[in-house]
């Protein structure tokens, strides 16, 4: 059973100072009306008794209290907006860190669709901070309620006791609708995720949809998803608003009950206009409390759904990892430590023993063993679906969606956390379809590390220097979102440069040739051989076979 309260508390204490200052100013903001209520009651007494001078004095004091009221809300908002944005950012940072970590306890399985995952970054953190917002409202509202009920009890004990009825009604109704709100909310989320996911796919396939003349059917499909979401949104909104209207109405019901209960006192004049005024002021604010408690309950459910959603992105679905207080210097990002390369462990031998990876739906690799030596080229080949890419990813510890077994030895030492070990300068990997970041050539190659000289060297190895000479900004040229400003071949070679830049002990290439013409590919192989690199590559080209020191052929996941 997840404890939403404790998780949220851990989130709140990421920025304790800002959060508690916000609470302090809110408390002042809530206590001013208590004073105002008493003052206004006195003013109406004086009005009834014909003492205008006292009324003017009270009016003057009210101007002062209201000024304090305004100043307190200004500071409260400043602090809570800052605290909440930073808490949101912390949750996002913890999710992203899990998605881009190389091994270790914090690394999570990669999400299937980044379009779907984005709602967990966009909406879920806000649902958590909304819940934290409610805490401030409810605790400050409770302090006010205690003071107000004490004063009202002194005015008319019977009417004050009767207030329990509408207040309790709000609690009970909220309690009963709690589960429903959560279900509606989840359904709405699901419908939203379906919409954003579909939109992401459609935009990513814009060209295909266009050239296939499929715009109209695609829009019809989207329209269906939109309609489903409209249904879930309306349900969610009407229930939430209905609950809210009832909670807000509670102060009106309370006032009606006060009149009925105190009818005798009113008719006899013991309950006078001043008392009406105190009740009127306090009930308005007292009505706030059950409403805020109701809202807090609803938001607790929303926060729970949000934590559920976000937990899909962190290691082992462990919600605790979402609220880990990481060093995140938002005020000065330059304080963040730069990327540090691990210590180099020169390769003497790499041995793979009985490596296997099995997918739920079948397929994968079975029982693959081989050994490779420094300065050699090992080529993995086989038909589509033979498990070549899976073999490479399993070796590197990147295959999180399959059940894996077997062992990998580096210089006869078994590597337990392969994802953490097989990174530069030990190993570098060039995936079949590399993905780039919308930054410069320099940043995409170095990814936060690497000197200018190292980058230049990598550019030469990857046969990219000539291309860069034609770009006025050189290595500072932006590659565009996902590298889309470059041609397919340029992207492939840029990713190759990224793999070469830290002169890794082992270079792992997954089908280098798919986006390269034959001349360029020959150039790359020649450069790698000249550099004395140790290479493990998937390929089905003769140029690779000719240079290979050993060839591993896979068929249905087995070495043949």
């Amino acid at each position: 059973m997840m404890n939403v309260w404790r998780l949220s508390w851990n989130a709140a204490t990421f920025r304790s100072k800002d959060y508690f200052l916000a609470f302090f100013y809110f408390l002042i903001f809530f206590m001013v009306p208590a004073l105002d209520g008493v003052l206004i009651g006195r003013a109406f007494d004086s009005l009834t008794n014909g003492e205008p001078e006292r009324v003017y004095t009270i009016a003057g004091v009210l101007l002062v209290t209201e000024t304090i009221h305004m100043i307190s809300i200004y500071f409260a908002v400043r602090y809570f907006v800052k605290a909440f944005w930073l808490i949101d950012s912390m949750l996002r940072a913890n999710m992203l860190a899990a998605q881009i970590a190389s091994g270790g306890d914090d690394a999570a399985e990669s999400v299937a669709s980044s379009g779907e995952a984005i709602t967990h970054f966009r909406d879920d953190p806000e649902d958590v901070t909304h819940f934290l917002d409610s805490w401030i409202d409810v605790s400050a509202g409770t302090v006010f309620a205690i003071v107000a009920v004490t004063i009202l009890g002194g005015v008319n004990a019977g009417a004050t006791v009767a207030l329990v009825i509408p207040m309790a009604a709000v609690f009970i109704v909220t309690w009963l609708l709690d589960t429903r709100i959560q279900q509606f909310r989840a359904a709405d989320r699901k419908a939203t995720v379906a919409v954003t996911g579909a939109l992401g796919d459609v935009f990513a396939s814009a060209t295909s949809i266009k050239v296939n003349g499929a715009t109209k059917p695609t829009l019809r499909h989207l329209s269906g998803l939109f309609d489903i979401r409209r249904g879930t949104a309306v349900r969610d909104r009407v229930l939430e608003d209905g609950l809210l209207a009832f909670a807000r109405g509670s102060s009106e019901y309370s006032f009606a009950i006060t009149i009925i209960v105190a009818a005798g006192a009113i008719a006899s004049g013991r309950f006078d206009t001043g008392d009406f005024a105190i009740f009127a002021v306090f009930l308005t604010y007292l009505g706030f409390l059950p409403r805020m408690v109701g809202r807090m309950m609803a938001r607790r459910e929303q926060a729970r759904v949000a934590f559920d959603g976000m937990s899909e992105l962190v290691a082992g679905g462990d919600r605790e990892k979402l609220v880990v207080h990481r060093f995140l210097p938002f005020e000065d990002p330059s304080l963040l430590p730069s990327r540090v390369l691990p210590v180099r462990t020169p390769l003497r031998s790499l041995r793979v023993e009985s490596l296997a990876a099995r997918f739920d739906g079948g397929g994968g690799v079975e029982n693959v063993s081989f050994e490779l030596r420094p300065g050699t080229l090992t080529v993995v080949t086989g038909v589509v679906g033979a498990g070549k890419s899976t073999l490479l990813r399993t070796l590197l510890g990147l295959e999180s969606n399959a059940e894996t077994s077997g062992a990998v030895f580096w210089n006869d030492e078994v590597i337990l956390d392969r994802a953490a070990f097989f990174i530069p300068p030990q190993a570098a990997y060039l995936p079949q379809v590399p993905n780039l970041i919308s930054d410069t050539f320099h940043a995409n190659i170095g990814l936060g590390a690497g000197s200018m000289a190292e980058i230049e060297h990598a550019l030469v190895l990857a046969a990219l220097s000539d291309d860069l000479e034609q770009m006025p900004a050189g290595t500072q040229t932006m590659v565009g979102p996902r590298g889309l400003r470059l041609s397919g071949g340029q992207r492939q070679r840029l990713a190759a440069a990224r793999a070469f830049v830290h002169r890794p002990e082992l270079i792992v290439l997954d089908d280098l040739s798919s986006a390269l013409d034959i001349e360029t590919e020959v150039e790359l192989w020649t450069n790698l051989a000249a550099a004395g690199a140790t290479v493990l590559a998937v390929s089905h080209r003769q140029v690779a076979f000719e240079r290979a020191d050993q060839i591993i052929e896979l068929s249905d996941g087995l070495r043949t």
Partner: protein, 574 residues
């Protein structure tokens, strides 16, 4: 961007539903009038208590107060229901319109706007606009109607009070108005900074394997922190702006209370006001506070929504540089593809330089050349995904600029280099959501390209994590099946077999050979083995035609560029 354009965008949207919105306004007016009854009841109780009354009468009035309160809450819920339904109608219409518009924009637009950003603009921004229509306008409209109702109520009691109330409302409105436009700019800013944030996250998630395998988590995290940190002053700035607006409500309400007390003190003595009326005015000012606060609560949403509407308007105003206004259709059957003096550049970078060629009808032409030689651009020109800077591309003797879009898409098909799968079923992915295509045709197309595996699991099986997974090679085959369904006259294959191993390629080549039979085709390939069966070969280098001719002739000319390439790749065909 001109001021006020966002209102035009919003009006354009609600116009078809204008009468429904009028109906909503009427229900809203009724819901706003009900809360006024309470203070009128209390006034009566106070004045009658001072004059002397019975417990029974007070209980009766208290009960009336309770009934009015319940009716008032019920009306609020009804308004919420009607407004939400209506707003979502409008918003979903806008989402569709925007999606269609974005899909129609140039490739250049899609190159510079990642899907994550487009999701934010088509879904996030529209949600803001829909919140404005469904919730914000109701809250703010309700507050306005409430004030109007109060003016009427006090005028009935005493016309001088009515005038005072109008003056108070006027002054209040004056204080509450203002600083809208600055806030608008800030809201646009905030939208932009959030779009950047989610674009950044989406991109990193897509590249997660690349970042992980490079051990570059620290780099990714730093980028996220930087974007989040850039957003902080903008987010805080917007809220502080909102507090300023909130403080204005407090000024209005507090001064209202003080004014009631002072004028009460002045006027009750002279018997102009009864104590009950003074209390009614006091309750009215209290009653004002909640709707005003709510309206102020929603004010940032107005700013946010206006900012979003500006961005929606900007997006809608963005025009595709390629306009399909022709209506010509080339004669049926295979079509020759002709390039006359065609050049193409991206600003300073010349990609194609004066291409003059005729690719004969019904024949296949292989296009080879180094990366960046202009192969892909040439094929994009035929599809009219990009427009030649100079010169004309024609098919079957008709310039493609004169051909209607549906006709062009019907006649020319593309098998792209990279295939993106869509969330949906096998059927959705092959037919691209076209429900009118029969299952049998889809099965036939899948079988033709060798994807029998997908036929076995059924065409209604979801693709992706929830159903059947597809490798990059299989995705390529699927794209071929898409084209197969459409029976085009011209086919462009852009390195269509790049991600397929030689074994699968042989199977695929057969399917491709069958597909290309009797059709004009442009086959872009890195692997020369792919070109074993093409009729003609075109060698491009730095945007120029180096060689063009019958494949057999070029193969036979040992001094030619193609023959040299073949020699280099000789091993490939082994």
């Amino acid at each position: 961007m001109q001021k006020g354009n966002h209102w035009k965008t919003i009006w354009r949207l609600i116009r078809p539903d204008a009468w429904r919105y009028v109906g909503l306004a009427i229900v809203l007016a009724a819901a706003s009038a009900l809360p006024l009854a309470g203070p009128i009841v209390v006034r009566h109780i106070i004045d009658s208590a001072i004059d002397g009354t019975t417990t029974g009468a007070v209980v009766r009035w208290g009960t009336i107060y309770l009934i009015v309160a319940i009716a008032s809450q019920a009306a609020t819920v009804l308004v919420a229901f009607l407004s939400t339904v209506l707003a979502w109608r409008t918003a979903n219409g806008l989402r569709l319109q925007l999606t269609e518009h974005v899909l129609g924009l140039d490739q250049e637009f899609h190159r510079s706007h990642p899907p994550g950003e487009l999701i934010h603009r088509v879904d996030g921004d529209v949600t803001s606009v829909s919140d404005l229509l469904g919730r914000v306008s109701v809250t703010i409209g309700g507050a306005v109607l409430l004030v109007a109702g109060m003016v009427v109520a006090v005028t009935v009691i005493d016309w001088r009070l009515g005038i005072a109330m109008v003056i108070y409302a006027g002054l209040g409105l004056y204080v509450l108005a203002g600083q809208r436009d600055r806030a608008l700019d800030e809201a646009t800013d905030e939208s932009a900074v959030k779009a950047r944030l989610y674009g950044e996250i989406e991109e990193q998630l897509t590249a997660s394997l690349d970042i992980r395998s490079n051990g570059a988590g620290a780099y990714g995290l730093r980028r996220l922190i930087e974007v989040s940190s850039d957003a902080l002053p903008i987010v805080v700035g917007r809220e502080v702006n909102y507090v300023r607006a909130y403080a204005r409500t407090m000024v209005v309400v507090a001064s209202g209370m003080v004014a009631v007390l002072v004028s009460g003190a002045l006027l009750t003595g002279r018997d102009v006001l009864t104590v009950g009326t003074a209390f009614l005015l006091f309750q009215f000012t209290m009653l004002l506070r909640r709707p005003l606060e709510l309206a102020i609560d929603e004010l940032p949403m107005v700013h946010k929504a206006s900012g979003a509407a500006v961005r929606v308007g900007e997006l809608l105003d963005m025009k595709a540089s390629i306009v399909f206004d022709g209506s010509a259709s080339p004669s049926p059957g295979p079509l020759a593809v002709q390039f006359e003096g065609v050049s193409f550049d991206y600003g300073e970078e010349l990609v194609l330089d004066d291409i003059n060629l005729v690719l004969p009808a019904g024949e296949s032409t292989g296009i080879v050349g180094r990366t960046g030689s202009g192969k892909t651009t040439l094929s994009r020109l035929v599809l009219r995904l990009v427009e030649a800077t100079e010169g004309t591309v024609s098919i079957g003797g008709t310039s493609i600029a004169d051909i209607a879009e549906s006709e062009l898409r019907h006649r020319i098909a593309l098998v792209p280099q990279e295939v993106q799968l869509l969330a949906g079923t096998v059927r959705d992915n092959v037919a691209l959501f076209d429900r009118s295509i029969a299952d049998a045709d889809i099965v036939a197309a899948l079988t033709e390209v060798g994807l029998d595996r997908l036929v076995e699991s059924g065409v209604d099986t979801p693709v992706g994590s929830a159903g059947v997974g597809l490798s990059a090679g299989e995705a390529q085959l699927l794209a071929l099946a898409r084209v197969w369904l459409r029976k085009p006259d011209v086919v462009v294959l852009d390195e269509a077999t790049a991600r397929v191993d030689p074994g699968t390629e042989r199977v695929l080549q057969e399917a491709i050979g069958h597909l290309l039979e009797g059709r004009t085709s442009l086959v872009i390939a890195h692997r020369l083995s792919t070109l074993r069966h093409v009729d003609n070969v075109l060698v491009l280098d730095h945007g120029r035609v180096v060689e063009f001719g019958k494949r057999v002739e070029l193969e036979a000319d040992p001094t030619g560029r193609y023959a040299r390439l073949l020699a280099l790749a000789l091993a490939e065909s082994a």
